[in-house]
């Protein structure tokens, strides 16, 4: 065969190959089409439609278009399209769980909080908000694995991998938040955070974990080291703003303490600034006065810097105070031994302290590094103590304080008694904020635990300091949140057969005696660090600036004065000749600067220092590649965490997050073992470059709460119409809450009553007899509301909600009674009595406040919302009851509330804002019987305003307040009576006569007011514990409408009050001989008198007559 005629291939075989390959292509094409057709969402939709909806609606991809809720693609913002509902079909439907049946499983499950989300009547309806703005994730995906679901633990992860082929898509910037962090995203729109607290509309806490994190951050002062800035330079709100307030107060104090050229007047001004650092006018005055006297040239360079700082005006300054105590006068109270042991290991003295542990965190170090750490850290601790004591500024103790003149002090006849002190700790309300081992039931966390205080304040001087502090904390630390409890020498309660001058005791002395009485084991003596270690650390610091030889030279001789002139920083301490003290001082300064102690404490010389930690303002979006994980996984494998990840779902989650280099894992490990990221790198880094964050005493749950908050800091709010912008009232409540939180007002005062939801059989529920009531007191319920309360569910039960207070047993716990109904064994079923504070509709009947208690069996109660606030009042309740009974006053249980901090429900509608402002600034006693006085806080004008607006908004009353408009009753005004109130009152004028009659009623001591009430200089008989508030001040204090309701039916306003009904709504009106007229008329007259009391008295006093009388004499 010739080559040219030969074909190269066997045609038959070619055909066969072609046929086979074509068939394979066909099969592959069918596979492709099938894969595209059989999408998992279709199965989900089909199942849902078959089971829940009527079948037949075509399957389709459902999409929520959100053109304004954009996704940030870095170069542009793209409209969001959420297709989640394609699979999550039942998310917006109430679902079977509302009827008590088990929930649908995923993906059909309904949203667990339809009242808050997704539901059309919720604040976040699905059509407007979609899903991914809160949950994150890839909203446009229609497959499970591409939606960037994030498993909540390892079991879910492996389950998802098996069932859905789940994988972690690192290429999507917004992976869905694991369920445990779902609340984080609330922060992007709710920058104020406090608007997420439970409210009347949403009594179930909307974001409890996030709020817990917020409060932990607030209380532990994370912002001292890490800036949390929520305001852009343009003024736009980006997120929670928790910056420290400008340090003007400390700067002014430091200026006054260090600059000798200042005049005495300027010093005084500086001290005033310390108390009011937010007042720019004061600062301006100081700066202007320094400039006017041309003092600037005589100031030191540091002084100049302080003056510059004081003259700068911040645009939108931070508002948070430093959380730690001021150390400006620490030498007055603490000794070196305590300081060293405390700084070294705070939990050793106080297990629950908020002070982080900064030293001895060496679990991640090995061998030489660990040895080096323990050597040099001991030096740091010692140097810190040395510097703090040395830099501490002198304080004047036992100087005169307001109200404590020497004469009063001499009046004290009794020696201090720890026994009395112990009781005072409770009865003076200290336990609202502090804990003490002797009172395990106290839970206050605002202030430190007061147990073993004797070990801390060991010297006589410290005891004197403590007494001085208790008398007026703000004098020592102007920015402390501890109030002045106004403790004054008091007369000892006298026994029945005692006589003679009353015995006076000083509560402050008693408290000091008690608090210092319990010392516990003393702090261990520290080992003085050797000179060699000192030098090693100094060289480590100096090596940043100097060569080794230069540094050693400085260490030997110190800096020459000429060199010292040039340096402005800590090296000034090293101006020669060298001494051990200088070295310690230098190291103390360096250590404070390095460890950032001034983030929490006011330390002299560190007024202008910047926070040492990285900002957290947008940490929730920080690129994981910017987080230095280092060799942390090796450490976790070594210390057993990796093994625990297998068994503990939480550890598993976080270990996985670390494994995947994700933020969640980083923050978890950072809070657990802050320095462990140095593992294996301690040798490469110098001692001073090691990580320095301290370890806080947080439980795992608390750490997760903090992580939830921090992960929510994204500094990227969506379009402004989505950002929560409350109205004026809402804003007032949000702002006010912050002030309430700052001063822990809710520890004593109840701000929102108990709310109980219950179900009942409407046929068997006993309704109260409709009592007679004034029209203006009758609850206003529409016919529809009453009818709605009769509605029953499928099981025949009706539902109701009541707000108020359960009856308390003498021990302060809700009292349990035996009901008529019996269980199967014939035992009576337990029941509660609930006093209403708000009218309610139950079983088609209106229930009024002050009427009968609602009696509820335990089994009827479905949900109990705890009250907001009042923990300390409840703690005091048994004591108040016992006290009253001991002093011979027979109180019904509830009436003991009258001696405790009052609930502030409806406060805005009760008192006049001008009076409230005065009271908050300078509280005066109101109820003689009260156990403790309202202490005096250092509130700024701004804070007072916020509180007043808060109470007004809560009570839905308008500000500003006018007596005429809001009161609803006519006060004594000239235009009403056609006469001049200051002029000669017409003796025959009907109005004046009415006032006189009303006055007769008030001053009647047999039946009416004067029986119990103090009126001006009049005191009813008996001890103070039996007296009622002064009526002279009612007009200045209360709103007229409130007084009217109060007089008509005191218990309808304050269910626990012992005040009787003096003006019965039906039957014959009483006291006709004093004040004739119907009860309503009597009330009107008394209200007018009380409100216009001052005017009335003035009209009864003639200045002219007095002058004439004087003339005659």
């Amino acid at each position: 065969m010739r080559p040219s005629e030969r074909t190269h291939h066997n045609v038959k075989r070619l055909r066969a190959v072609f046929a086979v390959s074509t068939l394979v292509l066909l099969a592959v094409t069918v596979w492709m089409l099938a894969a595209d057709h059989r999408r998992e969402w279709k199965d989900y939709q089909r199942t849902y439609r078959d089971r829940v909806e009527s079948p037949g609606r075509p399957l389709e991809i459902e999409q929520i278009n959100l053109s304004e809720l954009t996704v940030d693609y870095h170069f542009c913002r793209v409209a969001r399209a959420d297709r989640c509902t394609t699979c999550h079909q039942g998310v917006a439907v109430g679902g079977p769980d509302a009827a008590g049946q088990p929930r649908w499983p995923q993906p059909w499950m309904s949203h667990p909080r339809l009242d808050l989300y997704v539901g059309p009547n919720s604040p976040h309806p699905m059509a407007d908000f979609g899903c991914t703005i809160c949950h994150d994730g890839q909203g446009s995906a229609t497959e499970f694995r591409f939606a960037s679901h994030s498993p909540n633990d390892m079991r879910q992860r492996s389950d998802w991998r098996k069932r859905h082929g789940w994988f972690r898509n690192d290429d999507w910037d917004y992976p869905m938040l694991a369920r445990r962090f779902a609340q984080s995203r609330c922060l992007q729109c709710h920058a104020d955070v406090t608007d997420l607290e439970p409210s009347r509309r949403f009594p179930d806490p909307p974001a409890p974990k996030l709020l817990a994190g917020y409060h932990l951050v607030r209380q532990h002062g994370c912002f001292g080291c890490h800036e949390i800035k929520g305001v852009a330079a343009s003024g736009e709100r980006l997120g929670p703003d928790m910056r420290l307030e400008p340090n003007c107060g400390a700067a002014a104090l430091q200026l006054a303490a260090t600059e000798s050229s200042l005049t005495e007047r300027q010093r005084t001004l500086a001290r005033r600034i310390a108390g009011r650092p937010d007042d720019p006018a004061l600062r301006r005055r100081l700066v202007e006065s320094i400039d006017a006297e041309e003092l600037r040239s005589r100031l030191s360079p540091r002084g100049m810097a302080l003056v510059d700082y004081l003259s700068a005006e911040a645009e939108a300054p931070g508002t948070m105070r430093k959380v730690g105590p001021s150390l400006r006068d620490v030498a007055a109270r603490l000794d070196r031994r305590f300081l060293v042991s405390w700084i070294g290991e705070p939990v050793g003295f106080r297990p629950e302290t908020r002070m982080p542990r900064l030293f001895g965190l060496d679990e991640h170090l090995e061998g030489p590094a660990r040895e080096r750490a323990s050597r040099l850290e001991a030096v740091e601790v010692e140097a810190l103590a040395e510097f703090l004591l040395d830099a501490s500024q002198p304080v004047k103790l036992e100087a005169g304080w307001p109200g404590q003149s020497a004469a009063v002090a001499r009046n004290v006849t009794e020696p201090p008694s720890a026994e009395r002190g112990r009781r005072l700790l409770l009865t003076q309300g200290c336990l609202a904020c502090h804990k003490h081992d002797d009172y395990p039931q106290a839970t206050g966390t605002q202030g430190p635990d007061l147990s073993r205080l004797g070990a801390k304040y060991a010297s006589d001087r410290a005891a004197r300091w403590l007494a001085d502090w208790l008398r007026d904390p703000a004098r020592h630390a102007p920015r402390t949140r501890m109030p002045n409890s106004l403790l004054e020498p008091t007369a000892l309660a006298r026994g029945a057969n005692e006589s003679g001058p009353s015995k006076m005791f000083d509560p402050v002395a008693d408290l000091v005696a008690y608090l210092l009485g319990s010392a516990g084991p003393p702090a261990e003596a520290s080992h003085e660090p050797s000179e060699a270690n000192l030098d090693e650390l100094i060289l480590a610091h100096l090596s940043k600036r100097y060569s080794r030889e230069q540094a050693e030279e400085i260490l030997r001789r110190g800096l020459s004065p000429e060199e010292g002139e040039a340096v402005l920083d800590d090296r000034r301490e090293l101006i020669g000749p060298m001494s051990r003290k200088k070295k310690l001082r230098y190291l103390g300064r360096r250590t404070i600067a390095k460890r950032g102690c001034y983030g929490c404490h006011d330390i002299p010389g560190f007024e202008l220092s910047r926070p040492i930690g990285p900002a957290l303002s947008d940490w929730g979006r920080k690129g994981p590649t910017l987080l230095a994980f280092g060799r942390i996984e090796e450490l976790l494998a070594e210390d057993g965490t990796a093994d625990r990840a297998e068994t503990d779902p939480d550890v598993g989650f976080y270990h996985d997050a670390i494994h995947g280099r994700r933020r969640e894992g980083f923050v978890w490990q950072k809070l657990r073992a802050p320095r462990s990221f140095d593992y294996g790198q301690a040798r490469e880094k110098g001692f001073n470059e090691w990580l320095r964050m301290g370890r806080f005493t947080l439980s795992p749950d608390e750490r997760e709460a903090v992580a939830t908050f921090v992960l929510g800091l994204v500094a990227g709010p969506p379009a402004s119409k989505y950002v929560y912008q409350p109205g004026a009232a809402g804003r007032a409540i949000v702002e006010g809450r912050k002030v309430l939180d700052r001063y822990a007002c809710a520890e004593c005062h109840v701000l929102e009553m108990d709310r109980w939801q219950f179900e009942y059989d409407p046929d068997r529920f006993e309704s109260p007899r409709p009592g007679d009531e004034f029209v203006f007191l009758q609850p206003q319920f529409s016919r529809e509301q009453l009818k709605a309360s009769m509605q029953t569910d499928l099981r025949g039960f009706a539902h109701a909600e009541v707000a108020g207070m359960p009856r308390l047993a003498p021990d302060g716990r809700p009292a349990v009674f035996e009901g008529d109904e019996e269980d199967t064994e014939g035992e009576p079923l337990p029941m509660h009595a609930f006093s209403l504070w708000q009218p309610a509709t139950i079983a088609g009947q209106p229930w009024t406040v002050g009427g009968a208690d609602v009696l509820l069996y335990d089994y009827q109660i479905r949900k109990q919302y705890a009250p907001w606030g009042g923990a300390a009042a409840r703690l005091l309740y048994p004591a108040a009851l016992a006290d009253a009974r001991a002093s011979g006053v027979n109180l019904f249980d509830q009436q003991a509330w009258g001696r405790l901090p009052p609930p502030l429900v409806g406060q805005g509608a009760k008192v006049r804002p001008d009076w409230l402002a005065d009271f908050l600034v300078d509280p005066q006693p109101i109820r003689p019987a009260a156990m403790l006085r309202m202490p005096k806080y250092t509130l700024s004008t701004d804070e007072v305003g916020k509180l007043i607006r808060f109470f007004a908004a809560r009570s839905r009353v308008r500000l500003p307040y006018t007596r005429l408009g809001a009161a609803g009753v006519s006060p004594v005004l000239p235009n009403r009576h056609g006469q001049d109130a200051r002029g000669t009152p017409g003796e025959n004028s009907g109005a004046t006569r009415r006032f006189d009659q009303a006055m007769r009623l008030i001053t009647d001591r047999k039946m009416f007011c004067a029986k119990c009430h103090v009126i001006g200089d009049y005191r009813p008989g008996g001890t103070a514990t039996k007296m009622a508030p002064d009526l002279e001040n009612v007009g200045r204090r209360l709103r007229g409408e409130y007084v009217r309701r109060w007089l008509a039916h005191p218990r309808a306003t304050l269910p626990y009050t012992p005040m009787p009904v003096n003006f019965p709504p039906s039957g014959d009106p009483l006291g006709q001989d004093l004040l004739p007229g119907s009860s309503t008329q009597q009330i009107e007259a008394v209200v007018e008198l009380l409100i216009g009391y001052d005017d009335y008295l003035r009209s009864r006093t003639s200045t002219r007559k007095r002058i004439e009388e004087t003339d005659h004499k």
Binding site: P3, S4, E5, R6, T7, H8, H9, V11, L14, R15, V17, F18, S21, T22, V24, L25, V28, T29, W31, M32, A35, Y73, H74, F75, S158, R161, F167, R168, D170, D171, W172, D173, G623, T625, A628, F629, G630, R631, D656, H659, G660, R661
Partner: protein, 438 residues
Amino acid sequence: MDLYGREFLETIVPFLTAYYALACAANLGAVVYCARRKRFFWTCVWLGVAVGFAVLAGRSWLGQPLMLSEAMKHSIDNWMSPASVMVGFFIFLVVVYLGRAFFVRPAVAWTGLNAALLFFGASLADPHFARIVAKPDNVPIVAMVFLLGFFTWLGTAQAVQNDRRLAGGLPPREKEFCDKVLAWPDVVYLELIGLVVATTVLIVWSLLLRAPLQGPADPALTPNPSKAPWYFVGLQEMLVYFDPWLSGVTLPVLIVLGLMAIPYLDFSPKGSGYYTIRQRRFAYLTFQFGFLQLWILLILIGTFMRGPNWGFFGLYEARDPDTVVTLHNIKLSEYFWTVLLGRDLPQVAAGSGVLGELAVILWREVAGLVLVVLYFVVLPIVLAKTVFRRFYRQMGKGRYTIMVLLFLMMIMLPVKMILHWTLHLSYIVSIPEYLLNF
């Protein structure tokens, strides 16, 4: 891709089973092929290999795939460095070239393929290797390795055959057999089959592997490592050794120009239409070295071995961004002035004019400049007199000059690489004042 060991095994096992099953099937094909030709020895050998692969497939199915021992992985990782890989590959090329008559034998080649499959399969059971190899971006590169191996073998086999024929006085194979091919059915069928197979492969590929799309580009965040598209990764590797303007602009342009110039430089009719090595030794070696060593291998290094911070990683090493490798970079001028002469580098005095500055800079870089002149001016002349005498005579001055400059430019890359690895030499001529680093 934060898979744990167990999860990784679950993922890789089905693939490995199919992989070994395919290898087994391929060897069974070889068994059939050999049996038909009555080569009983090889039939038995391939049958044994097929059984071996079947066993591996079975073990994979049971969740116990063949793995390289940790010690082996460690030693491979330790051995690997840019220098060792480049030099090792060069030695490999030389050995294959010298023993080409042996290596092109089908049985040898098939053995090599089996060995490669085994090695690749065993390596796939390592998560780090699998992660880098199975990355959707890199899958075509893996395919390229096997395809390139096959086609290089095919071409070389034909060239060896032709060389033998030419030595025996016969015409090349292509000349003897292939002067006529039927369009129908031969070519059309073949083309159709190619079309169908390519389509099938693309569909299956798209169904099995996710498109290698990444997240939205973030101007504030550069990916680490940032890699060029696979065909440019070789160029990116050159950035390690040269200044960007050189490796990113000049050299690519010269490569393109050089390729365009080939027809005008090389006018020899030999080897036209058939494969031969002996007749075109210089062209063959230059091409194979330039293509395989300086282009393909650099792509492989850039794709598989360069990791975070453009560090060099062994095949089985974790791509840890925190791995830090100390780099020493010393300029030739520093060697010359400091090491050799023990003096400071000449400094440009403040206030000297442009010319004065230029003079100092040139004086400072004098050693490098002399070397460059020697390399690009003197060396061509020397070559023309010695090794390239014949070329010079045949090509004439102009074409020779262009050819030799292009050739020297190509050789410059390995030379510079070797200098970099051995002497930590960063630049021969370094004039950062004018962005001239060479």
